[in-house]
Symmetry: C2
Subunit: 332 residues, 2 copies
């Protein structure tokens, strides 16, 4: 099938750019140095490609992602890097422990109790390193680890996501601030014990020398938010739209905001100005070639929620559609 035959809006993955990204990252962070975050693509086919590049441990954000990864045979070492207190979902994870190694983040007595009661075996202590989100204080990490061990849980180490330090304009400053955040995590690690110090993301993947593993995810498909940061990753995903209306000063494509994550603002079209998106419309400035029926490639501003709006990704090599990957880790 040719890409021109796809119904739109369609999520499209450029397999050559993807392979470039996976190869590039695996050279910098080989094997277990990277724990790819599947929340960025929610796709076991893509996770399998990451494993082919040497990464056997993965990061997940939801119970559903963990369950889907286990079902796909990718359960060697799954970290649910998020707090969960839902007894039913935790119990569902616990039943998978004969097929998979599942570790869950905890940051409070309650989350430890929830994990222990459900019969989970492994936890990481989630440490707040500056992002106002989950995580205990570094000084609380030790007693939480003790409490977890007292509840029969194996504490594998610590995690701490420095999300507040992504996209800092000056990279030298970013490096200093990441190091300071990771100092906190290392202190927590000394209090907690265990082998794992897990942190990081695509924008800081090359700034980590204190952690044992980096949790980057966006590097595989990329978006405009990370695309202008000078990283050696290529844009490997776009939403294909069809022009449905043209007049003199603007044109409209069928790739609206129900096909695009909007939390980072509007997506982009190369050599065009995107004006605004409605539910099922994208209004942009046309050029001389823009005609009803023409296709446009819309580059996501934020890849994670964009992928999550689609149930399938079409994999292309040039203009040939070479595969169809279900986005099979959606939901919770």
């Amino acid at each position: 099938m040719n890409i021109s035959e796809l119904s739109t809006p369609a999520l499209v993955i450029d397999v050559d750019a993807l392979e470039h990204n996976l190869t590039t990252m695996a050279a910098v962070l080989p094997g277990s140095r990277l724990r790819p975050h599947v929340k960025a693509h929610k796709c076991t086919s893509l996770a399998r490609a990451q494993r082919t590049h040497g990464h056997r441990a993965f990061t997940c954000a939801t119970p559903r992602e963990v369950i889907g990864m286990v079902t796909a045979g990718l359960g060697d070492d799954l970290l649910l890097a998020n707090e969960v207190v839902d007894p039913a979902r935790l119990a569902a994870l616990a039943t998978l422990q004969d097929q998979a190694v599942i570790t869950i983040a905890v940051d409070s007595l309650q989350t430890i109790d929830s994990a222990a009661t459900a019969g989970l075996r492994y936890v990481l202590i989630d440490v707040n390193v500056g992002l106002p989100r989950c995580g205990c204080t570094p000084s609380d990490a030790g007693h939480l680890a003790d409490y977890a061990r007292g509840r029969g849980l194996a504490v594998r180490g610590v995690m701490g996501y420095e999300g507040h330090l992504m996209s800092i304009p000056d990279r030298a400053e970013q490096r200093i601030r990441v190091a300071a955040a990771m100092d906190k995590l290392v202190v927590a690690s000394l209090l907690v014990g265990g082998e794992i110090i897990s942190a990081g993301g695509t924008d800081t993947y090359d700034l980590h020398d204190q952690v044992t593993e980096v949790q980057a995810g966006s590097y595989a498909l990329m978006d405009t938010h990370y695309g202008d940061r000078g990283h050696p990753f290529q844009q490997a995903c776009f939403v294909l739209g069809t022009v449905i209306s043209v007049n003199g000063t603007f044109a409209v494509a069928d790739a609206g905001l129900k096909s695009q994550g909007m939390d980072h603002g509007n997506p982009s079209i190369e050599a065009a100005t995107v004006h605004f998106l409605s539910d099922e419309h994208l209004t942009f400035t046309p050029d001389a070639r823009t005609a009803v029926g023409a296709r446009v490639k819309v580059i996501p501003a934020h890849i994670d929620p964009t992928v999550a709006m689609h149930d399938v990704a079409w994999v292309v090599h040039g203009d040939d559609v070479v595969d169809r990957w279900p986005i099979d880790l959606r939901g919770w």
Copy 2:
């Protein structure tokens, strides 16, 4: 089941508020005066409730919505209020015409050709009344109607969405500007012929005396964007989240931006300040009762894309879960 037993994030519809909204709207715009827009809820169960209130004609935004409505037996009079040039999808619609009346918006020779070639029977001429999106100029509407009739299509009239006039602060000014926009549509109607003049939305539902029908959709479930406009509709939908982490100055719930349309900004929590959302997290200011495991009701800033991120809505009467409605019109 009690609402406290729902796994989160969960899309929840308050059936009493919904009934209030449907009753209130049906009193102002009874029967065919309202053509409810299903894009706002993507749910045939909710559409069936709207039909119970007397509305038998519906507006859709995508071929998938049309097909789903026909499959659900709600195909009395479906308007696909959007341009489509995909031959496969148009052909799929055409095959349903023995079970349903399907009318599609057209605004160009190409969209007319596409509809005619696929074997569709009915069109509306889509007229631009000021929103920079689809629609022909009023002065082009007549010759497009002639062209459509020449291609064997029945032209049922005109539509023109005044989306640029939603949320104007001063209602008196809004009324004047809506009237001016509708003047354009009436002119187009005179040129086009046909019985239908279709326009409007929730924020202008009570400002239309020149059209034959109003396309409002958000009124059924509502959101914060329309919620402060003084309309007699109640908030009937929220995303239920669970608090997963609390510290002194902020708390985190599991209702992140993959469960919330973000194009209108952050959602709201009553009596709390929402700081920011990540993929699977919502950081807010806790009060004294906020504890890990507590539930929060998150009010969407934009209902349409929020609903589209969920595969099911839980219908509640007070704290009792009384039904489970699939969001069965998702996708394209």
